[in-house]
Assembly symmetry: C2
Homo-oligomer: 235 residues x 2
C-alpha cells in the first residue's frame, strides 16, 4: 500500500529544516530506523555529503538514522533495501536528470508502489506528480524526459504563491503560468502553499496542514480546497 | 552584419506594449516597411491571430506593417523573405518547441546572421543566448533541446529581479538560481532588468536603457554593469 507525504516545502519561514513536519514524521516513520536520503536536487549546488549531513541533523531530533544514496556502491540495491525514502528539495531538473542518469526511476516506482514510505519536499514532491511541467525551478540542466512517477494522478506545484496585487513586476503570476500549462496539458494541478502537504495512503489522498490548497482543472476556474479534503477523485 | 535588439520585456509598468522602446524602434526599423512577427510564445496561451493583432496595433504607432508567420503557407520562405523579424514574449518552452517543430532554427539563424534586423522581447530574447537554461518560465512543454541561436556568446535572464529582503517565501531568489546554473554550466549570464536591452551591431554588444544589468560569471561574484557598457568580451 502506498504511503507517501508530498510536502510543498522542507522549511517554513522562521523555523528549522523540516521542523513543522516533525510531529507527523514521528508517526509516518514509526517503524523505520534508517531513512535512505536522495540528495540529487542539490539546493544551491551543495554537495551530496553536505546535504545529507543537514538532513541527518534534522532527523536526529526524532531518532532516525539517515544514509545518502551516494554512499552506496549500488544505488538500485540501496532503494530495494530501503526501509523508507526521503527525496529533498533543490532543483527539480537536476534531481530528475540524475534519477534518469542513474536509471533509478523504475526502482523508485516499484519500491514506493510496494509500500516503502516516501517523503518528498519541494523538488522531491514535484516528481510525485505525472510530470515536472509545473515546477517553479530554473531549467539549469536538460533531463531526457519531463515524465516522472505519477504516484498521484495529477501534477504538483509546490511553494504555491498567490498573486501580489502590489507588484510592479511584469512577469507572469503563478496562476497565469498554470493556466497556460492547461493550454497544452489536460491533467489537474494542485498548488500547495508552504506548510501544506498531501498524505497518500493507498488510494486515499488527503490535504494536510492548516491552510487551503488551490486546484487547477483544465476548463474550470481555479478553486480552493480545505485541509482534510480527499483528493483521490481529482484526475 | 548582425542587427539585434534583445529586450528584457515588451512592457514596462504603467505603459503600453512596446511603448518604452518605440523611439528606438523607429531608428532600428528605419528602412523596414513590414515586420515578420513570430507569435509562437503565445503569452497566456492566446491565439497566434490575437497576439499578432496586439503587436500590429503597437507598430501602427510607428507606421510599420506586421504579418504573423502563421499567415504564410511556407514559414521558411517567410523568414527568408522577411525585411525584419520580431519574436515576442510568452512561454520560452512553447516558443522554442514550436521553432523546432517547424524546423525553423537554422532559417532564423541564417537570416539574422545575414543581417535581417531581429527584435526579441522576453522569451524572444532568451532564445538569442546560447541556451534557454536560464529562462524564468514554467516548462509547460518539453522541447527537443534547450539549445538555441547563440546570437550572443552568453545566456540571457530577462525580467531580472533583485532579491526582496522582506519576503517570507522560502523559494530561491533569482541570483541563487543563476548561481546554481553555474554549478552545471560555464557560460556567463546577463540579468536584464525590465526596461533594459542589449543592442547588437555586428560584433558590438551594448547595454541600453537607464539602469544597470547584473552579470554572472562562473567562479566570480556577480557584478553590475552600466548602460552603454560594451559586453562583446563577455564569453
Amino acid at each position: 500500500m502506498k504511503k507517501i507525504i508530498i510536502a510543498s516545502t522542507s522549511t517554513v519561514y522562521g523555523s528549522d529544516f523540516l521542523e513543522y513536519l516533525l510531529e507527523d514524521l514521528i508517526i509516518f516513520f514509526k517503524s523505520v530506523e534508517t531513512i535512505l536520503f536522495i540528495p540529487y536536487a542539490k539546493p544551491g549546488g551543495i554537495s551530496h555529503d553536505e546535504y545529507t549531513k543537514k538532513v541527518s541533523n534534522a532527523f536526529l531530533k526524532i531518532d532516525k538514522m539517515v544514509k545518502g544514496i551516494h554512499e552506496f556502491e549500488d544505488p538500485k540495491l540501496a532503494i530495494k533495501n530501503a526501509e523508507a525514502i526521503f527525496v529533498g528539495g533543490g532543483n527539480t531538473f537536476v534531481l530528475l536528470n540524475q534519477l534518469y542518469k542513474n536509471n533509478l526511476i523504475d526502482d523508485l516506482k516499484t519500491s514506493v508502489l510496494g509500500g516503502t514510505p516516501y517523503l518528498g519536499t519541494s523538488a522531491g514532491s514535484n516528481i510525485c506528480g505525472l510530470t515536472i511541467n509545473t515546477t517553479n525551478d530554473m531549467p539549469i540542466v536538460y533531463p531526457p524526459s519531463f515524465k516522472t512517477f505519477g504516484f498521484v494522478p495529477f501534477n504538483i506545484n509546490p511553494h504555491y504563491l498567490d498573486p501580489d496585487p502590489t507588484s510592479k513586476h511584469m512577469g507572469e503570476t503563478r496562476e497565469t503560468r498554470i493556466m497556460e500549462f492547461h493550454k497544452f496539458n489536460t491533467q489537474p494541478v494542485i498548488g500547495l502553499r508552504e506548510g501544506s502537504w498531501l498524505a497518500v495512503n493507498g488510494n486515499s489522498i488527503t490535504l494536510k496542514g492548516r491552510i487551503t490548497a488551490r486546484i487547477f482543472e483544465q476548463g474550470k476556474s481555479p478553486y480552493e480546497v480545505s485541509p482534510e479534503t480527499e483528493l483521490n477523485t481529482l484526475n
